[in-house]
Amino acid sequence: MFEIFGIPSTALFGQLLIGLINGSFYALLSLGLAVIFGMLNIINFSHGAQYMMGAFAAYLLLQYSGIGYWPALIVAPVLVGITGMIVERLFLQWLYKLDHLYGLLLTFGLALIIEGVARNHYGSAGMPYTVPESLQGGRNLGFMFLPNYRAWVIVASLTICIATWFVIERTRLGAYLRAATENPSLVRAFGINVPRMITLTYGFGVALAAFAGVMAAPIYNVSPQMGSELIIVVFAVVVIGGMGSILGAIVTGFGLGVIEGLTKVFFPEASNTVIFVIMAIVLLVRPAGLFGRGG
């Protein structure tokens, strides 16, 4: 055991690992935002609310249908994803021809509605949801006690992130998606149903948010406001990473999680502002974002 800056190395490695866990949520959420922005050119402000919907869906599925955590991991994102697709058909599709800012405003309004309704119905204190039996407990890694659930979070989000990246960058479906972003009319001319792809893409992005929500439910308080604070930090993450690439969103999310984790050790009071400070620095040095292409 050795010390770095006065903190024992065991504590440091422990915090690094924890930072990765936090980073998982940032990565999942910024991935969803990047996917939606890449395809629709809309900043989905309701992403935080949809993350909350995922967590609530998990709670409700357990409460009323006895559907536990494992099935909820699939069912909840699908359900919330479907609501996302409905939102896209009902509201978003009218905005594509307008200034991008209207999309931001609309999804902001939707976020208010979703949070308000949830709060009216369920109160603000939060709903109970526990770690599933199979993942309870943990193992002593020597330098820290790692709860099994936390290990699962890292594994699951890495898997989903890599899978998403793979589909978008390396498969034919992903190629269609990327082409449709660049030149929708041309892609349409090839006979591909672009509006349907857009709807499905939005649904998928929303499902990603909901998936993060289900993963959060056992460890974070399931409350109506769980998404709104988080979403602003995710915006900062996205600005830092630049929305140009999927890989960028993933790497930035994990990386910032680690940095935030380290800040909690050395300078805990600043741990909620460190990401914003980094954002300011990145803006000064590399305005397009670390992985971005142009403004």
Partner: protein, 322 residues
């Protein structure tokens, strides 16, 4: 005649736009008469928010920049105005100036960072910066944290006018509001304002014409922040308190809502919007539970169906420009 050198430009603009003059006169008359019919404290608060919304509208309506973190300037001006009046014993005029200066400095710092990106990114950066300053306000000692700065003395303006007198306070707020409004009007109807609108319409073309658009945008940003600061500083004196609510992101969202409802890009829109939203908040305060949802519904409805806002629709219907 060289437009830039025409000192009567604003007068001419007013005269040539009779609809706006009429609207202005109506507004002034209404505001002068209103305190005899409505609770003056509510009106004063509404005017502060109206100025805030007008300042915000300067950026979005005329430059095309959506600042989603405008509460930063409003709130920090409010804090400094309250603190200087309470802890340093500043008279109200100095307190308001202190608050305004704070907002200007914050605007300069934030603007120079945010201008580096466009459109959506710009909005997200302003939001993130505002959130960072919110956390700072939360932890700083002088802001009083959750409790805020309370019992701010209203003081005596210029050593002459005792602002504890409601009517005196009202007149002062009215003057500040009208001055701010006319200042914005002057900015918008000036060569500088024309360049701003050109940037909104087509920035690459403005650059190709030789305008240093970044500089124009920054100046507009600072002006907008400063005027938001005037609103915040005045509000602190009127309500005699400054709190975290003023710097938090829902406040930024509210000013967007007020402007959207009133009419983006119209000069009178934000004023109407702010009165409407504030009234709604108070009426709903009795019911309470649905405020957030209703605000969200209004947002969605405005964006989808009602993009011109109240004043915009009115102007469109009457075929005038407001």
């Amino acid at each position: 005649m060289d437009r830039a050198a025409d000192p009567l430009l604003s007068v001419r603009a007013l005269v040539l736009a009779p609809s706006k003059t009429i609207a202005f006169v109506v507004m002034v008359v209404a505001l002068v008469v209103a305190p005899f019919f409505t609770y003056p404290l509510f009106l004063m608060q509404a005017m502060c928010f109206a100025l805030f919304a007008c300042a915000f509208n300067l950026l979005i309506g005329y430059v095309g920049l959506l600042s989603f973190g405008h509460a930063l300037y409003f709130g920090w001006a409010s804090y400094l105005s309250a603190y200087s009046a309470k802890a340093w014993g500043f008279p109200p005029e100095l307190a308001i100036l202190t608050g305004t200066a704070t907002a200007a400095i914050c605007g300069l710092a934030a603007g120079s960072l945010a201008i580096r990106r466009q459109g959506i990114y710009f909005a997200m950066i302003t939001l993130a910066l505002a959130q960072m300053m919110f956390f700072f306000a939360l932890q700083a000692k002088f802001t009083g944290g959750e409790d805020g700065i309370q019992a701010v003395p209203r003081g005596t303006l210029f050593g002459l006018i005792d602002l504890h007198n409601e009517m005196a306070m009202y007149v002062v707020v009215l003057v500040i509001f009208l001055a701010g409004f006319l200042f914005i009007y002057r900015i918008v109807h000036s060569p500088f304002g024309e360049v701003l609108k050109a940037i909104r319409e087509n920035e690459p073309r403005a650059i190709s014409l030789g305008y240093k658009t970044d500089r124009y945008k920054l100046v507009a940003f600072v002006l907008s922040a400063t005027l938001a600061g005037v609103a915040g500083a005045t509000k602190a004196i009127v309500l005699q308190l400054a709190s975290l609510t003023d710097v938090n992101w829902p406040m930024s969202g509210e000013v967007v809502l007020m402007t959207l409802v009133g009419g983006l890009g119209t000069i009178f829109g934000p004023i109407v919007g702010s009165f409407v939203i504030l009234l709604m908040q108070y009426k709903l305060a009795i019911v309470g539970e649905w405020v957030l949802v209703i605000q969200g519904v209004i947002f969605v409805a405005c964006v989808l169906l009602f993009r011109r806002g109240i004043v915009g629709e009115l102007a469109n219907w009457l075929r005038i420009r407001l």
